[in-house]
Amino acid sequence: MLGDSIDTDQIIPAAHLVYSMTEPEERRMYGRYACSGVPNDQAGLPEGGMPLTDPEAWTSDFRIVIAGSNFGCGSSREHAPFALQEAGIEAVVATSYARIFYRNAVDGGFLVPFESRERLIDQIRTGDDVVIDVPAGTLTHVSSGEVFLLNPLGDVADILRAGNVFEYARQAGFIS
């Protein structure tokens, strides 16, 4: 669980933008440092002190990030959704997104950016189990049984379904 305005400098600090994104020994660094820019007391709400990836690990124990408003604001660095993917994150659920991050996540096919209708960070704790039902558009908080509505994916569903923007563009005949 993360807070509001988690910007791309927090998701992947600038000093780490130099590792290869293809060579295996280097690209795993992105997973290690994903969200390492989040101040410790804000990492893993409500208590903090729970970084996304342990400093000695390459991937996270978590699969879903739930956050507040304007997730991914700041820079256009695609390294941000990439780092989350490398850490093993499959989906982000936020109340709103910055547009370049959202677009990068979708076009690169790194993770699914869901929008929640309500503010979830006051109701769910880091470590809790949640289940996202994509066709139904819901997120269920297992321990409380509460079901939260997610906004429909809309226009980007086609790109996500194809895999990334290249696959989508080829299938739709925009590129050969």
Binding site: S5, D7, D9, Q10, P13, A14, A15, L17, V18, Y19, S20, M21, T22, E26, G37, V38, P39, S69, N70, C73, G74, S75, S76, R77, E78, H79, S96, A98, R99, I100, R103, N104, D107, G108, D155, N164, V165, F166, A169, F174, I175
Partner: protein, 432 residues
Amino acid sequence: MGQTITQKILAQHAGRDRVAPGDNIWVDVDTLMTHDVCGPPTIGIFQREFGEDANVWDPDKLVILPDHYIFTEDPHARRNIDILRDFAAKHQLKHYFDVGTARYKGVCHVALAEEGFNRPGTVLFGTDSHSCTSGAFGMFSTGVGNTDAALIMGTGKIWVKVPETMRFVFEGTLPPWLMAKDLILSVIGDIGFEGGTYRALEFDGEAVFDLSMEERMTLTNMAIEAGGKNGIIAADQKTVDYVEARTDMPYELVTSDADARYIFEKVYDVSTMEPVVAKPHRPDNKASVSEVAGTKLDRAYIGSCTGGKFEDFLAASRILEGNRVQVDTFVVPASTEVSKQLREQTLGGKTLWQVFVDAGCKMGHASCGACLGGPVDTFGRTHGTEVVISTTNRNFPGRMGSKQSAVYLASPLTVAASALHGEITDPRTVLV
């Protein structure tokens, strides 16, 4: 119903007479820009999708400007330059501005303007969020990631969702203690850091057209800090004069229709506005300088695409001339052209460069510098709990290097006045 300038430019590049906000369209791209941090991964994706030996769609429309991690010993950062150099050589790219040569330019957004790549009526995409800067030239310009840039690199096209437009009108005469930075920080503070999300921010009014091109660039540069898709100012004679001095390539003057529809409009009277800062740790955390005056500082930083252009330094030098700074003050020209002008233009019989040196400033090489922290040996990067006042564009936690550091964003006048006293200082108290 009429169209905004943004709608018109996008429609024209999608082969249509008109487009409406919300339309998803494919546009032809006039210019694709990338730099040393995002260029190599973009090239990697391009080669993966189109083939190792594929040609770029149009080598004359690709501009590669290394600028982020240049003056560093970090081997990975230096490797990125090698990748760019090899690619430029392989594709015989005219517009590659190589590090370690006379062609090296510095900050991409300032170089795009200086080298004549910003042309009214065109569409530019850059692998950098501050690509919105170029909108000051009456064009559509925005930032994208590596995947989208690779798609453009191979096809010359990209999909765009047409944005609604928010219109900001500045009336009146700008007082000498205010700069464009104060105006844009006020806008961002008023609409919030996501108030402009998915929207075009259009700037209008006599006070905007009184601004020089460099000051207009400061306005559009920070559109992204409010989440804006693009920032835009219609081109006028000043734009034409600037552009024609640098390129013979065609351009088109486009303006919003009188009956264009805006989702939001706000009018400001600049003659009544005050100098402002963005307090830690968000660019929309606006406060008037008078509210935070007296806050003790450890450092001042003058540089970046936002506040490292010649006129930014001219403003700062007027305050620092003949005085000594009381805190470490880093002066980082945005481009080699700016560096050159600092060494040639004079104030009170001294070059501006000498004014800064005599004031006790630390002088850096043209690049993005510490605006975004960068490798640990970056000039001006924070490492501890430094309280910094800066002419840069973001102040999220860790932005300039250290998570424990605190950054105030301000105009060059406010930063210079504050450097003089070692605490946040209203420029009105030092300007004569």
